[in-house]
Symmetry: C2
Subunit: 343 residues, 2 copies
């Protein structure tokens, strides 16, 4: 078993830690926590080892949490680190990992320079193999790239325009807005998602823009894609349906036409934390005309990158398996695609 440590236990870290616990190839060394908050307590009660900064040891003990060790010990005991610390902190951690000689996987909130490769499974798994530092691109970029690469493989994508309708905050983030507004994500002409996607898929011209809306559940994306030659709608549906991480939902048949109903379905399906690992493409919105494809999809910002983090572990751990086998194993252990039966 490959020993993996998770540095940070927020939205992504806690989900990746749970995913590691489900995978017999990997052993969860433990997590690093900087404050003894409720999530530390829940992790401790679940039996997850908690590593803390030396100077915080007493704070943890005084709230009933016995740390397993210090951050130094965490680094020594882990063979690979998944860095799930807050945006931008990963870059500061890089020197720690380098000092300890440990490979690491970073998240999309970090600048690309933190790693050797910006990564998304459907696009560049083979390039990730054997690298020391990977960066799994952010939730929206992962959602965009899954569709683009699924289509690129079959039809040669030339150009994509993306409008991201971003959720304002995650469910737990009760201090963030907007409360009653539609807001531009930035003062710039484009958002970072397109640029980021092009790091992974440089042969395609990808331009994205983003607005932020008052909801916490999922992002919604509008994709407008040009491919090299004319295609039919059924070819597009077939190409997307081949991939377990892309689920087509027909609103007329299922009644599911919103992010809130998707999350309710995930709750009823007993997905842990109502996570939806799959891109949800609303099937009715797929419009194909000549060599142009457009669609609207929903992306669960909290969990969408979990499968890609797990795949990245295989690559960085040098587990010599073909791409398809890795994806199949990750998906099976997480239950990816299972919702297909009820949609």
């Amino acid at each position: 078993m490959v020993k993996v440590g998770v540095n940070g236990y927020g939205t992504i870290g806690k989900r990746v830690a749970d995913a590691i616990l489900k995978n017999p190839r990997f052993q969860l060394v433990g997590i690093v926590k900087y404050n003894p908050d409720y999530s530390s307590k829940i992790a401790f009660k679940k039996g997850i080892n908690i590593y803390v900064p030396q100077d915080k040891w007493r704070d943890f003990e005084s709230t009933g949490i016995t740390p397993k060790g210090t951050i130094q010990e965490f680094l020594e005991e882990s063979s690979i680190i998944i860095d799930a610390s807050p945006n931008g902190k990963g870059a500061a951690n890089l020197s720690l990992y380098k000092g300890a000689g440990k490979p690491a996987i970073f998240q999309g909130g970090e600048k690309p320079e933190v790693a050797e490769l910006s990564y998304s499974t459907y696009c560049n798994y083979d390039e990730a193999f054997g690298r020391k530092y990977l960066r799994v691109v952010s939730c929206n970029t992962t959602g965009i790239l899954r569709v683009l690469c699924a289509l690129h493989r079959e039809f040669n994508v030339k150009r994509a325009r993306v409008l991201v309708i971003r959720r304002g905050a995650d469910p737990k983030e009760d201090a963030r807005g907007p409360i009653n507004s539609i807001k531009l994500e930035s003062f710039e002409d484009v958002s970072h998602h397109g640029k980021d996607a092009m790091l992974v898929l440089p042969s395609v011209k990808i331009i994205s823009q983003a607005v932020v809306v008052p909801t916490t559940l999922m992002h919604v994306q509008y994709l407008d894609i040009d491919v090299a030659s004319p295609v039919t709608r059924s070819q597009v549906i077939e190409a997307l349906s081949k991939h377990a991480r892309i689920l087509l939902v027909n609103p007329k048949k299922t009644g599911i036409d919103s992010t809130s109903k998707l999350i309710e379905a995930a709750r009823d399906f007993l997905r842990s934390r109502n996570d939806i690992y799959e891109n949800i493409v609303f099937e009715n919105t797929i419009i194909v005309s000549d060599n142009n494809i457009s669609l609207i999809q929903a992306i669960h910002q909290e969990s969408i990158v979990v499968p890609e983090n797990m795949d990245a572990l295989y690559a960085i751990a040098n587990i010599r398996l073909p791409f398809e086998k890795v994806v199949e194993e990750t998906d099976r252990l997480l239950g990816v695609g299972g919702l297909k039966d009820v949609f």
Copy 2:
């Protein structure tokens, strides 16, 4: 003075009634109300004549409102009717207007067949001239058509794709959602806006889709437009800036990057009911590449059609003025474009 009656006193009716009061060419005969609610009382206190169904007369009197007359009298005293009744009720009213021999202007919530012509000032004012029944297209369609026709005039628009990010409800509609969701507007592949816009501008292929979000203030639209030949960004900005009903806002310079800040600006500017009659195009979002133009704009759903209703009155009343003069007069009386000085 041309005598105009307004049937219905909801979101559009009350604004159009106020606009008529500001215009010396027209006399507001009064409004038709079906229930003596708070808005009837406010109109009554403002001195607006209220016409009611015969069988509701006592209900109005018992709340302290003395009606001016019945609906029959309203029809007799009006030379032109603006129908601002709830979606779909206008079609039922058509036979009343026909029976009384009165021309009428309907709103975009009605089916196109209610009128001889679906109308939007920047696109087909000349065709509206002298007609008996007009239909002013809906708020989103008006917002789309202003931009398309402003560009069409200069560059020959060939094709447009539109994504509408719809506000969930108007500020007063406290029973509507969504509260925490991004929802498809329909189970169909496209929304009605594109089809509706093509009734007005049939030479352009316009396809629209729509999602609904939890906010009440304004719609936001993403437009992706192909024109016949390559253009430059400054040509596009110049073409849009010629039109008082299209305002460009630079978020970096003004700090205004959201619908809530736009509404706050309209409140500070002392616009009545914080109305924004202008399309607000976020200047930073304008991307021009070869013969493709894209932009993001905000549309104030409650008031955007008021100028077009006023222009339609000129056309239907056979007031023989050139198009530019009508638009200038409507805009001056409503203060359209005034916000330009502060943006």
